[in-house]
């Protein structure tokens, strides 16, 4: 079971339409990705809350279909 980077980006942008998303495939197996997500909706939220918003966007795939997603989140500078 794996996911395409484009699917991850699509899901994140569906939930966070303004987000700038950069995804890199860490292991080439569709299971280990790193993603940088920048969105105004993160402003005022701590890291845990920001990451939880991204996990919610992935609708339960995190930790199942998607084994690892190294996340870097922030509001625009």
């Amino acid at each position: 079971m794996a996911m395409a980077a484009s699917d991850i980006e699509h899901l994140i942008k569906e939930a966070l339409p303004d987000a700038k998303v950069e995804i890199s495939d860490l292991a080439g197996d569709g299971d280990h990705y790193a993603a940088t997500v920048v969105s105004e909706q993160f402003r005022g939220k701590n890291r845990v809350q920001q990451h939880q918003m991204v996990y919610a966007a992935l609708k339960g795939r995190m930790g199942g279909e998607l084994h690892a997603l190294a996340l870097q989140t922030s509001a625009p500078e």
Partner: protein, 121 residues
């Protein structure tokens, strides 16, 4: 009626200043992400309770609903969820973990923390 698994988790984080829910144990981690966080805490001389979620499927799932966090490891300091591997790594490199431990009154080796940052440029 509180979920017994959640009650057990609550008890663990109430009874220990620092708790790491992980795959494997501090001395025998069984996942790269768990191993990294356990390694950071051990290197920084933090006394912590390691809880091996692989020993109990109900716990392995229950911890995720408890914190609304889908992955393992999960670090708790003074009953508060701090984060998983990414966040703890980021906090270690930025010095935020040092501040959190200090404000929480948890002993750790400041020099070791500085060495981690030096090593990671």
């Amino acid at each position: 009626m509180t979920d017994p698994v959640h009650a057990g988790i609550q008890a663990a984080i109430d009874d220990n200043d620092v708790v790491l829910f992980m795959k494997g144990t501090a001395s025998m981690p069984q996942c790269g992400f768990s191993s990294r966080v356990a390694g950071i805490l051990t290197y920084m001389g933090v006394t912590y309770k390691d809880v091996n979620v692989l020993m109990d499927d109900a716990l392995r799932e229950g911890i995720k609903s408890f914190s609304d966090w889908p992955t393992i490891p999960q670090l708790y300091v003074k009953g508060e969820f701090v984060g998983g591997c990414d966040i703890v790594t980021e906090m270690t490199l930025s010095g935020e973990l040092d501040q959190l431990l200090e404000t929480s009154g948890v002993a750790f080796d400041k020099d070791a923390a500085a060495k981690i940052r030096e090593a990671n440029g």
